[in-house]
Amino acid sequence: MALVDQLRERREAVLERWLDVALGDYPEETARFLRTERDQFANPVGHSTRRGLEGLLGWLLRETGRDEAQALLDGIVRIRALQDLSAGRALAFILELKELIRAELAAEIEAGRISQEELCTLEKRVDGLALLAFDIYVECREQIHRIRLEELRRASWAASRLARERGLSSDQLARQEGV
């Protein structure tokens, strides 16, 4: 368990570097703001990202269940699914953790104090997170479409009620009323 112990010890450093990676997807001035403004209401994106990454690191070390990982990922992915990031870019930060860990522990790996096997196990867990994140991302995108449809229904609520009364389809009515 040398790897887990090492990571636990360097948790803060890894977290800060991981945060740099995730926030690096935003323009420079934004990344600075997201990193430095600590009020969670003034800076919900930065706060959620930090809190999420912190939790995910803990999850990787503790091996708790899928539900917890899901909730932690949701806090970050739900935001990124909406922003000007391609799907790949929105989720890349998860996979980039692998590289980051290898870099952070380079000396120990070189010296053979951390086994390849241990590294592989951890990296598989990171891959697992990435797949889970992908599911969440897709679900968020689908939800956005569902919400759009639902809103159309709500907005034309009156139109469809009147349509029923006048025996028109709501489409016909919408065209007639210009809504």
Binding site: V45, Q143, E151, R161
Partner: protein
């Protein structure tokens, strides 16, 4: 294997200076362009079929001259515009205060950069330094790319004025957005979600374009529903000459779900105190999308309220829970279409209270009216009938920042609910976060922008939900009632949206009513016997 593939892909595109990055019209972020028939209906220039994501916007050949001349005229007409153009010291105090910036991370959503889009063109064309030194002093030619950028970012500002609260010079980016949109309208570049309602409102008096009988149908429907829940039949009248008060609500309260429950609340209050009022099927819209189009259009659409009040011979006007309508009434109506000398200074016929602040506009906000009734003990209230709701209150931008209506809604909510929890201080009152869909941006095609922009608001709701189990988000604006439900669904499932007067309607004990088993929505009541939780 996966690693090998990934390592060949560069996820991070190269950084570019913001001035050099042209806008990309990605689906979900922009609204459809104004249709020809919407512009024709009110005589706005350059009606045509076009789409913002296409290369050719079908602008008039002299579009550049039109815009620059338009800007020149407005610099002369509005002293504030020139001041706002010249005074910004780029201190950055406003930069991270815009919900669209906070939610999107796009620097051009910083109020200071949003304004800079206009300012750079101003510098180039109207200042000596800009003409001579160009880019060195942040001056910029007006090109088609710049025009497209205006369209993109000025239709990503909800004119909420949160940024202005933080500016040491009081620069109001919302006012700059209004001017920019006015300019865009000179060459036919409005969005249809604004141009459509404007055309409808001009033609039939409301945004949906519904005609008088449809308006009456909907009100009758509310009356029937109310009778079912309360056993009392309320009797609103329409276009009745000689009524004391003309009541005007946003049409969303009559036609949309859940706004209509708020409308039911109004009807119950009026019935209970025996108010001598009438509705108008012509002034059937409190909202005014002219505000999001141009000063002239705002004036035209606003004028119908006074015209109708004069025609009916009422004494004064009472207005419903609308957001931007109050911005228009409070800040512009009096100078645009007032003073309304043919009306009387509003006095509550029930309590005798004089609404001095409305001396000139002759128009009173329903929250003021109802708070005054409660204060004088004129309403019998059973707040236990809202026990199934743990309520928080979203200050809608316009009532909060454009008219300072902060205490009345809270006073009402505390009187009609026993479980009320405020959101954190820096997200309410003057600092309230916009719903993300104001100023005509409540279309559905730009849902992503709306959900991004609404995130700071939703985040604060989530906090009180986790901390106190809040399940009801009360608000004072019809657009809020339409757009907060989807926002909650995405960010904070389990929170429903209510108008303040819907909560009043639940709690109001009517003379002669039957025992209520449900709220106005038909949800079962759930009286808790524990202590109040205010």
């Amino acid at each position: 294997m996966a690693d090998e593939i990934l390592s060949t892909i560069d996820y991070k595109p190269p950084r570019r200076r913001w001035l050099d990055t042209p806008v990309e019209f990605r689906r979900g972020t922009w609204c459809y362009g104004a249709k020809a028939k919407s512009l024709e209906a009110v005589g706005l220039p350059n009606p045509r079929e076009w789409s913002p994501d296409q290369e050719d916007w079908k602008l008039p050949p002299n579009w550049r001259e039109i815009l620059l001349e338009g800007l020149r005229e407005r610099l002369e007409r509005f002293r504030s515009l020139r001041l706002f153009m010249d005074t910004c010291v780029r201190c950055g105090a406003c930069a991270d205060k815009c919900h669209y910036y906070i939610g999107s991370g796009d620097p051009k959503n910083m109020p200071v950069l949003r304004a800079e889009l206009l300012r750079a063109v101003y510098r180039k064309n109207f200042t000596l330094a800009g003409r001579i030194m160009g880019e060195f002093v942040g001056a910029r030619e007006l090109t088609q790319d710049v025009l497209k950028e205006w369209f993109y970012y000025f239709f990503q500002c909800s004119e909420c004025r949160r940024c202005s609260v933080f500016c040491p010079f009081g620069i109001d980016t919302a006012e700059l957005t209004m001017i920019a949109r006015e300019l865009l309208n000179l060459v036919g570049c409005n969005i249809d979600w604004i141009a459509g309602p404007v055309a409808n409102c001009y033609r039939t008096g409301n945004h949906l374009g519904l005609e008088p009988h449809a308006f009456k149908d909907m009100v009758d429907f509310c009356v029937d529903e109310l009778e079912e829940v309360t056993g009392v039949r309320v009797e609103p009248t329409f276009n009745r000459k000689g009524a004391e008060v003309l009541f005007i609500a946003p049409s969303g309260d009559v036609f949309a779900d859940p706004g209509m429950y708020t409308f039911m609340g109004y009807l119950l209050v009026f019935h209970e105190v025996g108010l001598d009022y009438t509705l108008s099927t012509y002034a059937s819209e409190g909202g005014n999308f002219g505000l999001f189009t141009s000063h002239e259009m705002m004036k035209r659409l606003n004028a119908k309220m006074y015209a109708e009040a004069e025609r009916l011979g009422v004494k004064w006007i009472l207005g419903g829970e609308c957001g931007h309508m109050w911005r228009v009434v409070h800040q512009y109506m009096d100078t645009m279409n007032g003073p309304a000398d043919f009306l009387e200074e509003p006095v509550s016929p029930v309590t005798g209270t004089k609404f001095d602040h409305a001396k000139s506009t002759k128009m009173v906000h329903i929250a003021e009216f109802t708070a005054d009734l409660i204060r004088h003990g004129k309403l019998k209230l059973d707040p236990g009938r809202n026990d199934h709701l743990r309520v928080t209150f979203h200050d809608s931008c316009n009532p909060a920042r454009a008219m300072g209506l902060l205490e009345e809604p809270r006073y009402i909510i505390r009187s009609v609910c026993r479980h009320f929890h405020e959101m954190p201080e820096n997200t309410i009152r003057e600092q309230t976060f916009c719903c993300g869909s104001g100023a005509g941006l409540n279309a559905d095609e730009n849902m992503e922008i709306r959900l991004r922009g609404g995130f700071p608001r939703a985040n604060a709701v989530r906090y009180v939900r986790e901390k106190y189990g809040v399940n009801a988000l009360a608000c004072l604006c019809a657009i809020d009632r339409a757009v907060l439900p989807p926002l909650m669904e995405y960010w904070v499932p389990g929170v429903d949206v209510y108008g303040v007067h819907e909560l009043v309607g639940n709690a109001l004990v009517l003379k002669g009513e039957k025992e209520r088993t449900t709220d106005l929505r038909g949800e079962p009541l759930d009286r808790t016997d524990d202590d109040e939780d205010l």
